[in-house]
Point group: C2
DNA sequence: ACAACTCTTACGAAGCGTAATTGTGG
DNA sequence: TCCACAATTACGCTTCGTAAGAGTTG
């Protein structure tokens, strides 16, 4: 009597659709695929993205926000796929995160110095105009 | 009776010498020349850098510290050469400086956000390990 | 027949690093 | 003759943007 069990319609997307959803360009999605970070299915030649692809893109975008190169993000995704909860890999990841954190702090210092130098220049300019 | 007046020996450099002096590579000097920011003299085919070239490099390095693209730095050097104290150009320069300042502040905010996100992740990792 | 997409291929950009090959002066 | 630099040419790297040309589908 119960209706046959059904998975909720798994949403599918074309490049343009998924791109719009995530705020990136179709070009970016194709590029990530070319670099081995995505592997959407195809309907003929047309790319078809599943929820899984969408989830991967979410991770990719996070990696980018944190400033990691695509190469590193791909490695991370591969471990992730391997489903290996190996502590060694996890340790490596944490190491990378820590390293990136140091880099970011260094960049911030560099920016602060540049800002200071710029303000000094503006100061000179003001004097020169007196 | 007085010795003939003499300019103090103007120092000259080869690529490698000037590069070492300024902490850059010879490749960089040649690259800037290719991009029209420098124009050293030649002794045959060998580049000869004068004090003037050295001074220009100092300005170039400053522009780089502030994060300006070489294209902009070159424009600036050209105005500088034109010796035109024109207020209009000066105003444009100040505008660029101001714009760059805004950009730097924006970058710093972005970095702060990335740092916050990274710390949040580290936090999760610690929890996951409990 | 046509609009609206999609696909692939490939050059451009920024700032040099890194060969590879060929002088050239001492 | 040989060493140490110098010069030129050009591909590599990173992340897509931007055509360009061709095929597909409703």
């Amino acid at each position: 009597m119960a209706e046959p069990l059904q998975m909720p319609e798994a949403q599918l997307y074309t490049v343009t659709e998924l791109a719009r959803e995530l705020g990136v360009t179709p070009r970016a999605l194709r590029f990530y695929e070319d670099k081995g970070l995505l592997a959407p299915k195809r309907a003929g030649t047309t790319r078809i993205y599943t929820q899984r692809d969408r989830a991967r893109m979410t991770l990719i975008l996070r990696g980018k926000r944190l400033g990691f190169p695509l190469r590193d993000i791909r490695e991370y995704l591969e471990l992730y796929d391997a489903g290996d909860g190996g502590r060694a890999q996890n340790a490596k990841l944490r190491e990378k995160l820590q390293h990136r954190l140091d880099q970011l702090r260094a960049q911030r210092r560099a920016i602060d110095e540049a800002i200071a130098e710029l303000r000094a220049i503006e100061g000179q300019a003001r004097e020169a105009l007196r």
